[in-house]
């Protein structure tokens, strides 16, 4: 059960390795927006933490504020109250030091650049030197060697997301944030992408936070899952995922996997009524 922890220690030795050290501290975060003069609470008093080298997932119903949580960690939004620290620093530090990789749901590829140039973009922005070999390596990592010179509009949705993931990994970031990266893909492609993502992730093992509404995806990829309720997003429970890595098609077919999917889905369903009392709790 704890096999992956042993692997992790072997791969990244040092005082910070392993699950002991808290890397992200997401401490009592609340976030509310003003929409047409009405206050909408996206997150309410959410606390969790992520260890170095850990893969965690946030799941919850649509509009529960899980993307908001990720955006706060990426320093794209500020919390209304509460504090976030990453390695003891405010979240802006990660992006300023080019130590953050984000894959967005809208892949946000630049249409005037080809695959190689899109993957090279983080190097051009950070001013870090890069060799053609390194770009080729990243392209082959996501299996797009033949499409190196293709422009985004010539690629399928799955291929665009792979470019987006390669770009997020380009600078070997300490922290990888994945905001529903496969949300717009069909079920078959999505499953294949999950297997590929696990393989890619295992090569670097950056601390990773995945936001998804798909229970199977979270269970297949993550070490730990945070379940959020509907609006306002509150932390309902935290689930440790026991499957050994590397996880395979067989893992997904196992009875235990299905039982966990059912259990988690039931937990999520129980949050579906949340929006009603959420409105009441506003006053």
């Amino acid at each position: 059960m704890n096999n992956h922890q042993i692997n992790q220690t072997q791969l990244s030795p040092g005082p910070l390795a392993g699950r002991g050290t808290s890397f992200i501290d997401f401490d009592q975060i609340s976030k509310s927006f003003e929409i047409d003069g009405q206050k909408v609470v996206a997150l309410e008093n959410v606390t969790f933490n992520l260890s170095e080298g850990e893969f965690a997932a946030i799941i919850g119903p649509s509009g529960c504020g899980k993307s908001t949580a990720l955006r706060i960690i990426a320093a794209l939004e500020e919390p209304t109250s509460g504090t976030v620290t990453i390695a003891g620093q405010p979240p802006t530090q990660q992006s300023t030091e080019h130590a953050l990789g984000v894959a967005f749901q809208d892949h946000a590829l630049l249409p005037w650049l080809n695959v190689a140039e899109n993957i090279e973009l983080p190097f051009r922005i950070s001013g870090r030197p890069v060799t053609a070999e390194r770009i080729d390596e990243l392209i082959s990592l996501v299996g797009l060697t033949e499409f190196k010179s293709a422009r985004p509009k010539q690629l399928s949705g799955g291929m665009r997301q792979r470019v987006s993931i390669a770009r997020a990994l380009a600078l070997s970031p300490q922290l990888l944030l994945l905001d529903e990266p496969f949300g717009s893909l069909d079920a078959v492609t999505r499953r294949r992408m999950n297997i590929e993502l696990q393989r890619i992730w295992s090569e670097f093992r950056p601390s990773t936070l995945l936001v998804t509404h798909a229970v199977e995806e979270a269970l297949f990829l993550a070490d730990r899952i945070f379940v959020l309720t509907g609006r306002p997003g509150r932390l309902l429970r935290e689930v440790d995922v026991p499957f050994e890595r590397p996880r395979t098609d067989d893992t997904m077919r196992s009875e235990f996997f299905h039982r966990m999917v059912d259990e988690m889905t039931a937990a999520l369903d129980s949050t579906e009524n949340a929006p009603q009392y959420a409105v009441e709790s506003l006053d």
Binding site: R71, A74, A75, L76, S95, T96, E97, H98, L100, G101, V102, F104, D106, A108, L110, P111, W112, L121, P122, R124, I125, S126, L177
Partner: protein, 251 residues
């Protein structure tokens, strides 16, 4: 079949133009609209009359020179002003209002002011420049804002500095929009030059039109108008092709 479809698309347009020209010719031949409506054939005859070629060439090159100079100067000013407003937010609103005020002054009124301020020969250039300035200013300004929020989020998450964001994101998204502005500004620059020429310039298509009108040289007047239209259409067509190349490359 593609060739079939092409004929199907182009045929109604071609027939429409032919019909228009035919009606023009007939109206001129019958003279129902009076002496001021000459038949098309006599307009074309004047236009290609070898004794007038030098005159037309001189006028066209004079107008193209002042329109072109005004176009480049106005375009450069518009680009610089839009970039300044974009990079220095405190300038933004003032610049937008200034541009809007300048644009709302009618070209005729502008020309008379310029006439007092500078020579009759530079007035066409100045009027063309002012009209082009506004179009390019607006196009560049909105083009610089046309990157998507997700693209901006990406650049923020990568810790991008201001000038790299401008150069790697905002300028590439601006170019197609600026290109549309450059295209629209072509006929506007020519109109500006013609209007400017009415205020005492010594040569140009505007001068030719004005003289022909005052001396009741009807087919000369129409020839000059036709020539002005053809020149404007030709430049517009060239820029339409450049625009489609830019769009193909950048979007």
């Amino acid at each position: 079949m593609p060739s079939n479809r092409w004929i199907k698309n182009a045929l109604p347009g071609a027939l429409g133009i032919l019909l228009f020209l035919l009606i023009w010719e007939l109206l001129g031949r019958t003279g129902v609209l009076g002496l001021t409506w000459p038949p098309l054939t006599s307009v074309i005859a004047t236009l290609i009359d070898p004794s007038k070629t030098a005159l037309f060439l001189r006028a066209t090159s004079a107008s193209l020179t002042s329109a072109g100079t005004g176009y480049l100067a106005g375009g450069a000013l518009g680009l610089v002003a839009a970039l300044a407003g974009h990079l220095i937010p405190t300038l933004q609103e003032g610049l937008s209002r200034f541009a809007a005020v300048v644009n709302s002054v009618p070209p005729i009124a502008l020309a008379s002011v310029f006439l007092v301020l500078m020579t009759t020969e530079s007035t066409p250039t100045a009027v063309a420049a002012i009209k082009v300035f506004f179009i390019i200013f607006i196009a560049v300004q909105s083009g610089l804002r046309s990157a998507t929020p997700a693209q901006h989020d990406l650049f923020t998450s990568l810790g991008t500095g201001r000038f790299k964001r401008l150069w790697l994101l905002e300028v590439p998204t601006m170019l197609p929009v600026a290109m549309s502005g450059l295209k629209i500004a072509v006929p506007v620059a020519l109109i500006g030059a013609f209007v400017g020429e009415w205020f005492g310039a010594s040569r140009g298509l505007g001068v030719l039109i004005l003289n022909a009108m005052q001396n009741f040289q009807i087919s000369m007047l129409w020839s000059a108008v036709l020539l002005a239209t053809l020149v404007s259409l030709a430049v517009y067509f060239i820029l339409t092709m450049v625009e489609s190349i830019v769009r193909l490359r950048l979007t």
